[in-house]
């Protein structure tokens, strides 16, 4: 099969892989932030991404603007996330670590069911934004404008996130609380507000992943299941609680999926789990995971 593969095909595949990986990065970095800061394993991550997709559908139907759709998805779903953290997760801190896990698992079933009641079983379409439709041709390469947007937009989001965590006061406190929340508390910071903020950021990233995915697949109540799985695989590959790991892991998995599709399409889903298995065997803490968290 490889004989008919030319450089342009390889570059195209790399491009599609990076675009796919960018969505994985957004999903996994949200999951990673939540885990790093709150120690909550968020099984409802994909369900929040799905909510993001539905907010885009509503916003685009009402306003006609995809940009408004994306912004409202992040804001509205992050607010929902804050409420979930404040009212449901907070009472469980300090108790059995399995309780938050069970809670988010319950949410992963309940949220899609609520969407089914509200919107019905058939999904809702969101067209590609007019300005980003079509493709850019560079030599033999035909690059979809929308996928270019996904790659650069994700890059912009990650740079802002990095600047926020490294340079801002709040970001510094979040990083400190990820390392040692007790010490941060002793120093006089209200950690419970930090946790709420961190959860909101993680959920906002999930919503963003769902929002930019929706033109490519339409909003359906069960779309989050696959997204949760991907987020977990990438997080395990990249290393728990590591933002860098989420980025490298996400792009790596995206590229692996793309090239598997080219050579043996039927294995493109399995490839991701195979990669995870290999990483677990060779480096159980993940590519960028901290020692001691295995």
């Amino acid at each position: 099969m490889l004989s008919d593969v030319s450089w342009s095909v390889i570059l195209m595949q790399l491009f599609f892989g990076l675009a796919l990986g960018s969505i994985f990065v957004l999903l996994a970095s949200g999951l990673s932030i939540i885990y790093g800061l709150l120690d909550v394993v968020n099984f409802a991550h994909g369900a929040f991404a799905m909510l993001g997709a539905y907010v885009v559908f509503l916003a685009v139907s009402l306003s006609g603007s995809f940009a408004i759709g994306i912004v409202s998805a992040i804001v509205i779903v992050a607010i929902i996330g804050m409420m979930v953290e404040f009212f449901l997760l907070k009472p469980l801190y300090g108790k059995d670590p399995l309780l938050p896990l069970l809670l988010t698992f319950g949410l992963s079933v309940a949220i899609p069911d609520l969407i089914k009641i509200a919107f019905g079983l058939i999904g809702e379409p969101v067209p590609y934004p007019e300005a980003l439709s079509g493709a850019t041709t560079i030599g033999p390469l035909i690059l979809s404008n929308y996928r270019l947007f996904i790659i650069f937009f994700t890059l912009a989001i990650l740079v802002s996130l990095w600047l926020f965590l490294k340079k801002s006061d709040l970001g510094m406190i979040i990083r400190a609380a990820t390392r040692d929340s007790l010490m941060v508390q002793v120093l006089g910071t209200n950690t419970s507000r930090i946790w709420t903020t961190g959860f909101a950021i993680g959920i906002g990233l999930a919503a963003l992943a769902g929002a930019i995915s929706v033109p490519m697949m339409s909003a359906t109540p069960d779309m989050g299941v696959e997204m949760t799985m991907v987020a977990f695989v990438v997080t395990v590959v990249g290393g728990l609680g590591s933002l860098g790991g989420a980025i490298v892991g996400g792009l790596l998995i995206g590229i692996i999926v793309a090239f598997t599709s080219l050579i043996a399409g039927e294995y493109s889903s399995v490839a991701m789990y195979f990669c995870m298995a290999v990483v677990l065997l060779i480096r159980p803490r993940g590519l960028f995971g901290e020692i001691g968290r295995e």
Partner: protein, 424 residues
């Protein structure tokens, strides 16, 4: 909050949890329990299974509504031979093991004399085997290979077209009207492969040029990575041998890359739900196959009568998978009437064999030799931006049932498709 260190979830717990969640997320859903009743002598019990949770839940809901309508219509007329029809249904979660448990429950606990439903070729094969062993008549609502080869048995009846029939109908139209050079995207499981066999055979008969195929895993959400190959091959027709969310994503992403303008897309089986989910991108360049579309009401009086009653009751039209359930339920009851018994299964089966009827489309029959409903296959074309509400497509062709089904002798040997070599 000073015990954060203690409440750390270890990596091991994380992985354990991930495994548990993985398993449970892949097969979610709460069993659909309907009211339990003991067997009574004065009723006829019919039990059905449908995927009420999972990716085909919208279609499963249609199967339930259509069966309900058929049962209610008969009961309103006084039942069958003086007995009321009691119908129970269960959620099979689109899962073979669950479906088999539900089938056992329906037969052993609910004491159903007849079972039906299901929306997956693979599941229908499993239930068919169960039905044959236990001598319970089973009416499959979905496309199924169960009437082929050694799977065919006295107790199994298939009310949707054979998968290869769908492929023969759509490919015939495609090669005649759209072009001979074709490439396919095939969902990598038995049903998708059956469709591909049909396409390849027809291509050989009609001088088509098969440029290649890519297999995509069931449930794939990204198809962009497959399109590089397809763009290089430059086919006139891009065939989609997939369904549901997979088809939605494939069509949307083909449109994203401008493929829909360069080639025609032909979905061997499509659905109204898919057209709705794709939205305006399901335009005139996209065609799909289906056994039923509500637009038939403008062609047949029987369709008009059926659709109008259904719309009045449920407020929306139904998919082909529901329509086949309506026909199956009706044919079963008509056969009881013809055989003048509700208990003698052998006589009822004999009455179903070769039964002729006109219910939802033109005149049809159930073939006596292999228990396959012989029915036409429709080709519909998207309306793109002009689609409104349920006015989603126009019917461009109706291919007669007899022209897309092989003889019983061939079906018994799975010919000619058993000789087709599928690409790797």
């Amino acid at each position: 909050m000073n015990d954060k260190a203690d409440k750390r979830v270890s990596r091991r717990d994380f992985l354990k949890g991930a495994t548990v969640a993985g398993i449970s997320l892949l097969g979610p859903g709460i069993p659909f329990i309907t009211k339990r009743a003991s067997a009574k002598d004065d009723v006829v019990k019919y039990g059905t299974m449908h995927p009420l949770t999972g990716p085909y839940s919208a279609l499963g809901a249609d199967q339930v509504r259509a069966t309900q309508l058929a049962v209610e219509e008969w009961n309103a007329k006084g039942g069958i031979l003086g007995r009321k029809i009691e119908w129970v249904h269960r959620d099979d979660q689109l899962n073979g093991a669950v479906a088999l448990r539900r089938a056992k429950e329906l037969v052993e606990e609910e004491k159903c004399d007849f079972i039906g439903g299901t929306l997956s070729g693979a599941i229908s094969l499993a239930i068919n085997e169960f039905a044959c062993k236990n001598k319970v008549p089973y009416l499959a609502y979905c496309q199924s290979d169960m009437v082929l080869g050694s799977d065919q048995c006295k107790y199994g009846f298939a009310f949707m077209v054979l998968p290869y029939s769908a492929a023969l109908a759509t490919s015939k139209y495609a090669f005649e009207k759209l072009g001979k050079k074709w490439f396919s995207i095939t969902a990598d499981y038995r049903w998708g492969q059956s469709l591909l066999e049909g396409w390849i055979w027809q291509s050989q008969q009609m001088g088509g040029q098969f440029l290649g195929n890519v297999y995509a895993p069931l449930g794939a959400t990204d198809f962009s990575t497959y399109f590089t190959k397809i763009m290089a091959a430059k086919p006139e027709v891009l065939v989609m041998n997939n369904l549901g969310a997979d088809q939605t994503a494939a069509i949307k992403q083909a449109g994203e890359l401008g493929l829909t303008k360069k080639m025609k897309i032909v979905c061997t089986k499509t659905a109204m739900a898919t057209i709705k989910e794709v939205g305006p991108a399901y335009d005139e360049n996209i065609m799909g196959g289906t056994t039923f579309y509500w637009g038939l009401r403008n062609k047949y009086a029987s369709s008009r009568k059926f659709i109008d009653v259904y719309m009045k009751k449920f407020g929306q039209p139904l998919e082909q998978d529901g329509e086949s359930g309506y026909v199956a339920t009706n044919v079963l009851l008509m056969a009881m009437q013809k055989a003048n018994t509700v208990t003698d299964k052998e006589k009822i089966i004999a009455a179903m064999e070769g039964i002729k009827y006109t219910l939802t489309k033109g005149p049809e029959y159930v073939r006596a030799c292999d228990h396959q409903r012989v029915q036409s296959y429709l080709l519909i074309r998207g309306k793109g931006k002009k689609a409104k509400n349920w006015d989603l497509a126009e019917i461009v062709a109706e291919i007669p049932g007899d022209s897309i089904i092989m003889s019983c002798e061939d079906n018994a040997k799975k010919l000619p498709f058993a000789n087709i070599k599928l690409p790797k």
